[in-house]
Symmetry: C2
Subunit: 356 residues, 2 copies
């Protein structure tokens, strides 16, 4: 049989709790659909710093490289925030993205009907919001040369933002292709009135757009996009942008849905391989209390099924189960209107597994 290898990185904070529920969903999928998964756990982030002295141990990278997909909980926490650069969880995150060639970060942001009220936006503005931010993940100012030097005006710090045509082309093509499977609208976000990288970005996107005549392309300046996401969120379909802008805009987009505890993300490379994780962070403040919301991580499994394995039926089953459980009124504390009726991580996980 075709056994799929999944590297499981629980990470820090609520990571282990939410990942545990997602693993139950994997198990249930085996029973229901006859698929076979082999999971291998690996240390990453803060816990890897504590136990191995580095956020991204060699073994972890090997486990990921020999797997078909990676499921990641969350990394980071105040404990490691003041560490030197090499001993910070984020450094592991940037390292794993680069090492695995995950140049594309895909973050769907949509509204769960039953959670509309959770947003700070008016329901009528949100109505119909269903967008995907496609963020370039291994280039730009994140990975350019960084240094300090002495000047007449005191120390100076320098970051370099660079993009080449190949990097822009591959992410743009992916975004066009995703748009083709959806409402066929692509917003390419840049700051072409100021940045040279943005001008190359725009030229390149325009050049390859001719290969996707069915997709309606608009160019939006990043500052304007930050506004338009608030003014007309439902008008966006797919948004493609460079690493730093994508970091900011995808968080804004996720937050405006009010469903940030529910959103999954995928980081992809050239082939089917992908790393899947919830959009939310490690929430150290509530870790270990069994009250965190496992839904985003469970939906990350569904996304893995779709994008890496092509197990659409199983993905449907998970997504339907989540909807059913929510429609029946079950809520974890983060999404409960009446906190006194909130259920815990385990209970939510079990309800979803049962509903599959």
């Amino acid at each position: 049989a075709d056994v799929k290898k999944i590297a499981v990185i629980a990470g820090d904070g609520i990571g282990p709790e939410v990942v545990a529920e997602a693993e139950k969903v994997l198990k249930r999928t085996e029973e229901l659909f006859g698929y076979q998964f082999e999971t291998e756990h690996a240390l990453f982030g803060g816990i890897a710093i504590d136990e191995k002295g580095t956020p991204l141990p060699e073994e972890t990278l090997k486990v990921c490289q020999s797997a078909d997909a990676v499921l990641l909980g969350a990394v980071g926490g105040p404990k490691w925030d003041n560490n030197s650069k090499e001993l910070r969880p984020e450094t592991g995150l940037l390292g794993i993205r680069k090492a695995l060639g995950l140049f594309s970060n895909i973050r769907p942001a949509f509204i769960f009907d039953c959670l509309k009220e959770a947003s700070t936006l008016k329901p009528e503005v949100l109505e119909g919001t269903d967008l995907i931010v496609v963020r370039e993940l291994t280039g730009g100012i994140y990975f350019g040369e960084k240094f300090r030097r002495e000047t007449a005006n005191g120390q100076e710090a320098v970051d370099t933002c660079a993009y080449n045509v190949t990097e822009i082309e591959r992410i743009a093509r992916q975004a066009f292709e995703i748009a083709q499977t959806r409402r066929k609208k692509l917003a390419s976000v840049d700051k072409a009135n100021v940045l040279e990288t943005s001008r190359l970005w725009r030229e390149t996107v325009n050049r390859i757009a001719v290969d996707y005549p069915d997709v309606e392309l608009e160019h939006v300046l990043v500052d304007n996009c930050a506004m338009q996401l608030l003014r007309r969120p439902s008008s966006f379909d797919v948004i493609v942008t460079e690493n730093m802008f994508g970091d900011i805009l995808s968080d804004e987009a996720a937050m405006l849905t009010g469903s940030i505890g529910m959103l999954a993300s995928a980081s992809l490379g050239e082939g089917a391989f992908g790393l899947y994780e919830p959009v939310h962070g490690s929430a150290p403040d509530i870790a270990g209390q069994g009250i965190s919301n496992p839904i985003a991580t469970i939906l990350s499994v569904a996304l893995m099924f779709r994008l890496t394995f092509g197990y659409h039926e199983a993905a449907d089953s998970i997504e339907r189960a989540v909807k059913e459980v929510l429609d029946a009124g079950h809520r974890t504390g983060d999404i409960a209107v009446d906190k006194s009726t909130a259920i815990g991580t385990l209970a939510m996980g079990q309800l979803i597994v049962d509903a599959m």
Copy 2:
């Protein structure tokens, strides 16, 4: 008598219309308070490209340099969007900021009570929102070295982001000082978990924070700030950040108030000199129809009175007049709920002048 010289740059699109109303407010201030203003008009932006072949003619710079303050309408429009870099209005904007040493851009974002409904955010979330974004304006990736080069992966574009201690100190001190006159809370926004410039930013802000013990300082990562502005806008008082982040966050902040047609901004240097302009753009789609909203430009005059001239009483008079006119139900099209009752630019300007 002490004659104040004001360079007036009407600019493009609706710029000339809204600036004309602001000039009536200047005139009325002379009558009411006995101040004297000498205004000198100068070409800038698209119109300067058309008439002088450059967005920032030498004469314009001279007029500004010999003035006590600059009042700017708006620049830009589709007509010049595809021009080469030297012939674009934005290039003039960056040039004037640098040439006049305007290292600080101050953008208050607050809610006009009678316009609460204009926001896409829920009124209860907006309640009490009153923040100022202090954006560094002459450094960072906007002004760093930019170039292209050939690589094995096709052309590569490079932008350089640099900050030195002196640049960070002066903007941070200004932000701390503004916070001292308000609710004494400062959020410094950076991406210190990734960028070297952000690490220097954070170190420097922390170092000078000891001089402002009465101000409560928090560091917020830029992606998190984009979220928190949506989740808890009223919890922010003063936000200080670097040029590119400030561009994005100040637009997000302005839009969430729902009052973008009403917001004024100031760009300041070392002394009292400042450039004042509405936050909104040149709106070429409605230019020349006499329907644009002059309030943001009129409030820019009030801001000039406060920050450059210290004419607080006159500033109060303008702000009170605007409030009165709005409370009486008068609206331009952009802020009218019932568009059929909207009044034009001239009528709105006159009402405010009369109410002063």
